[in-house]
Every structure is written in C-alpha cells, then in structure tokens.
C-alpha cells in the first residue's frame, strides 16, 4: 500500500496552490492514507476476471455535429474580469512573483 509522507502532501498542496499549515498537512496525510488503504482493498477484491473500469457510468460519449453556435458578447465577458485592455483579459505578471 502506498503511504503518503507529509512532504508529499505539502508538494501536492503547492501544485494546487493551497497553503497548508503544519496541522493541516498532518491531517490530510492521515486522510490520504485512509483513502489509499481503501483503494488497496478494492484492488485486492478486483481479480483478473473483473474488467478495468474507467468511469463509474457505463456510457459512451455523445458526439455533436460540427455546427457553429452563437458566441458570447465580448463586452459582457470582459465586464466579469477584474481587468481588461484592448478586448483582452489582463493577467498579472506571470514570472517574477512568488
């Protein structure tokens, strides 16, 4: 069974941009290890005669025809953004921040 370390949990936290306190990292580590244990149980039960399941819903993807539909009004969209310029969204500086 895979066991999570606190460092791994902190790394995951940084990947999803969630600041974790020491207590939170500890708690999440324990939670994740419970989940990991549950997955191990499922794997033990899933023997060779059980086909792999990619999705819990036994459906195939519906496909739509390649026909353009109405698009959103640009001014309306940009009005939702914190900042815009020349018809474009403004993103804060990408490099050089934290």
């Amino acid at each position: 069974m895979a066991r999570f370390t606190k460092d791994q949990v902190r790394h995951l936290g940084s990947l999803v941009r969630i600041a974790l306190s020491d207590d939170e990292a500890d708690r999440l580590k324990n939670d994740l290890n419970v989940i990991s244990q549950s997955i191990t149980h499922v794997q033990d039960v899933a023997t060779a005669d059980v086909p792999p399941t990619a999705n819990p819903v036994p459906l195939e993807a519906p496909l739509r025809p390649d026909v353009p539909a109405k698009t959103l009004d640009r001014d309306e969209i940009l009005a939702q953004a914190p900042k815009s310029q020349d018809g474009q969204f403004v993103a804060p500086r990408i490099l050089g921040g934290k």
Binding site: P62, D66, T71, G87, F89
Partner: protein, 499 residues
C-alpha cells in the same frame, strides 16, 4: 558557448543520437473540440467564446464528432491502431492561457495507438518512423506579454489574453524514440514532419501552416555512447514552429550535448526553447517533476466508443497518400528524381498537378511554375499559392501558346500581367494587344518591307545561301514588336524567295 561547441561530424562520430518528436496538428473543424464556438486564425480577440471555452462554472463539454473523425482518419493514415475505447484526462497546470487551469487531453487511453510513417529521403531511401500514439486534446489561448523586451515573458509587467484559440482541437502525434538515424537525424526528422504536413493537407484535416501555428513540434534529443547503451537523458525543446527550426534544433542539441558529455558533464532533463535569432536553444525550466500535471480521468466526460464498422467507413474515405501520389505523378510526368525534388522543394506539386488536370502538358506546367512564377515568388518572398496566378491561368496560357495566339515572348509578358493582378491570361493579352501577327497579307507586307531594306540579303537568299535568313526574321520581329511567330515568318520568307 556557441563558439566552443563540438562539430556535428565529431559529435556523430562519438555519440549515437536518439530523438523523438511530439507534433501538434491543429484540426480545421468549424467549431472547437468541446463546444460549438467557431475559430478563425487572426480573428478579433475574445469573440469566439462560449461558456465552455471560458471554463465557466456549470458548463459541460460536448465532443465534436468531426474532430474525432478527423483524428481517426489521421491515425489511419499513420497506420495507428485505433482504440475501441478512448478516454479524456485532465492535465492540470497553472498558467493563464487556459481558463480552466487544465487541458483536456488523453493519457493512458488515447484514440490512436501505435503506428508508423515511412518517409523518403533525398537519396531515394526510405526510413520508417515508429509512432507511439496520436491523441486528441484542446489547444490553449494566446498570451501577449506587455512591458518586457521584444514581447518576452521575462521582465513583462503583465499579459493580455485572447481565449479564442482555447479549445481548438489538436492531434498530438508522438513518435517512439527514433534510433539508428546517425548523421541523418535532422534530415529524417524534417522529412517526417513535412510528410505529416502533406498527409494532414491531403486528408483535408488541417491547413498545416507552421507559420500560423497549425503545426508545431516539441523536439526531444538525447545521446548515448553506442547503439547498445541505454538511452541518455533527454532535453525537450518546446514549440518549434518551422521545418528548418526542427532540423536545426536537432543538430544544435546533438552538438551541445556532445560537448557537455565529452567534458564529463551531465545532461539535465529540462525543457528548452529554440531561438531563431541566435540559432541556438536556451534552457526553459527543469523537468524534474515530470508527473506534476496530475493527470486524472475527466469526470465531465465519458469514454469515446469507436466501432470497427465506423473505422472501416472512415478508412474508405482516405485519399491517395502523398508518397504514393508523388511516385505516381513522377512516373506519369516522366521525371527523374532530381526534377521531382525541384518540384517538391518549390512546393509546386499540387499546383502543377492541378495545371495538368486543367489541360496543360506536364512540361509546360513545370516550366511556368518553376520558372517565371517561382522567380517572382522568390522576389516577393511569397509562396507560389499566394501569388495571383492559378493553375487554370497557367493552363490557359499554355493553350494560347499551343493555338499560336502567343509566342514565348508574348507569353512571358502575359504571365507578368497575370502576376501583377491584371486578370486572366486572355484578359491581359486583350488589354495589352498581345497577339501573334499571323501569316497573311499583314505579315507579307512587313516581309516585303524587310526585303526592300536589305536587297543584298535577298540576293544571297535567292542564290540559295540561307545563312542571312536571321537578318530578315530579326527585321520582321522588330517591325511587329516581337508579335510575329518566327516559324511562320521563316516559312513565309522561303515561300516568297522561291515564289
């Protein structure tokens, strides 16, 4: 560093190069992969968006059937195994070019599995490039960095984002590590990407214009001591968007890595960027955490089911493949390899083929497209198909020559008019009065005048010495401003002398 690099020849002597390409081909569907927003290159920013392209909460992706069919046809052309079930995964990353903060891609269950592509090299030999997979994913938006030098992200104060391109379908064709190419590594990689472009165009699934971002490649290169040794650490040069850039990246990386290895150094697994201005690659970011994208199955999408029946239907729609067509046309046109390469290098194959189909001879079509028209294209730094001349124009011009309406000189003036945007060949010839002076009374009187001006020449001709014939023909040509047919003039002169 550039001046201290090991020579390519030396690098190849000491190391065995292994490379791989991840080529993105943008599909030219009318709408995006997961929503019915249209997309056009160079459209007004942020006008081609739906709630799905913007990743708005509550919006759900619905797959474009055409994109899936196009991708399968591309997979079939690359001899890929088409998987009956394929699945969508989220590739998570933080960068403002994708409003959802993840790209929808395919991870362990791609639409197209293993395949291969045979490419032909300049020496006529064939090399088989093994393909690992060709999966489908959506493209990201476009960032414009403001405040830094030359639009670079480094030093920029902020960035503008146009999300129009976000969600446009891409097929990413991933090769296996390609071994055994040695000194031909770059040539084979270049031939492979050109062939991919030709196939995408033949299938009609993409315009395949690298300069417009329809195609771009990530170039992986590593070196090892010998072909028996395990693969070395690779560098990945991202988003190279020209054929020459891809070839030069491979050559540069082979030299750079050989230099480091020969000095006992270590190759870092990193992403790099090709810099056209310095003709070098520069390091981007370290790729030590390769799994940081945290792929997981997209809970908003279920699997795509592709039946064998549907695959067979699509297979039946595949056109003749470019390599096959190339061989067929070369044979039909009676060309040697060198002549055929000249056509391919000029990007004139389709144009000549269409000109022949419009009724011109292969020789005639080739002469115009590779001659006068290529010259003007080079002068104006344009592709042949960007000039205001069509295969139909060239076929018409050839017909006018065959009908004796134009001679070579007038035909050249006519095509110059067509290339200047003055209209079709007949329109240009009419407008300028380009017309061969036909045999008959008009030509007869012009010849009579030439006789009268050159009595000594006429004496010689009458005595059977035909050598000074050129003097008379020259005089007639001058008098008609080149609009007479030299053969007709010559026949008429002989008739008059003997008459």
């Amino acid at each position: 560093m550039a001046e201290k690099l090991m020579s390519f020849e030396e690098a190849i002597k000491r190391y065995d190069p292994v490379w791989g390409l991840e080529t993105h081909v943008e599909l030219n569907t009318k709408t995006k992969l997961f929503c019915p927003a249209p997309y056009s290159f160079g459209g007004e920013p942020n006008t081609e968006l739906t709630p799905v392209s913007l990743g708005l909460p509550g919006s759900l992706p619905v797959l474009n059937k055409q994109a899936i069919d196009d991708a399968i046809r591309l997979g079939l052309a690359l001899h890929c195994h088409i998987n009956e079930w394929s699945q969508w995964s989220r590739k998570n990353y933080f960068y403002p070019d994708m409003p959802r903060d993840y790209q929808i891609s395919q991870d362990d269950k791609p639409l197209n599995g293993e395949g291969y592509l045979d490419v032909e090299l300049d020496d006529g030999s064939t090399f088989r490039v093994p393909i690992l997979r060709a999966h489908v994913e959506d493209d990201a938006g476009k960032n414009t960095h403001i405040g830094g030098a030359a639009g670079r992200i480094e030093g920029a104060a902020y960035s503008l984002i146009d999300y129009n391109r976000a969600g446009v379908p891409l097929v990413e064709i991933v090769t296996q590590p390609v071994t055994g190419t040695g000194a031909k590594a770059a040539e084979i990689a270049g031939a492979y990407v050109r062939m991919l472009r030709d196939i995408a165009r033949a299938l009609g699934v993409s315009e395949g214009r690298l300069e417009q971002g329809n195609m771009r490649a990530d170039v992986n290169v590593s070196l090892r001591e010998s072909p028996d040794a395990p693969l070395g650490t690779r560098s990945e040069t991202k988003n190279v968007n020209s054929f020459r850039g891809i070839e030069k990246t491979i050559i540069y990386e082979i030299r750079r890595q050989a230099t480091i290895l020969s000095q006992g150094g270590e190759i870092l697994q990193e992403t790099r960027n090709w810099d056209e201005s310095t003709q070098t690659t520069a390091n981007g970011r370290l790729k030590s955490d390769a799994n940081d994208y945290r792929y997981f199955p997209d809970p908003d999408l279920v699997q795509v089911h592709t039946t064998q029946e549907h695959i067979d239907e699509l297979k039946a729609t595949l056109p003749e493949m470019p390599l096959h067509r190339r061989h067929r046309l070369q044979k039909e046109w009676g060309l040697d390899d060198r002549q055929m390469h000249a056509i391919l290098n000029a990007g004139a194959l389709d144009l000549i083929d269409q000109t022949v189909q419009a009724g011109a001879s292969a020789d005639g079509a080739r002469k115009w497209w590779l001659g006068e028209i290529s010259r003007v294209a080079n002068e104006q730094k344009l592709a042949l198909d960007e000039l205001p001349v069509t295969p139909d124009d060239v076929a018409e011009l050839e017909q006018m020559i065959a009908d004796g309406k134009l001679n070579d000189r007038l035909a050249k003036k006519t095509i110059a008019g067509v290339l200047a945007g003055e209209g079709t060949p007949s329109e240009v010839a009419d407008a300028h009065g380009y017309k061969v002076v036909e045999a008959g009374s008009e030509l007869g009187s012009i010849i009579d005048k030439a006789f009268a001006d050159n009595p000594d020449v006429v004496e010689k001709l009458k005595s059977g010495n035909m050598k000074p014939m050129g003097v008379i023909i020259g005089a007639v040509m001058r008098a008609t401003r080149g609009q007479a047919d030299a053969k007709a003039v010559s026949a008429e002169v002989i008739k008059k002398i003997r008459g």
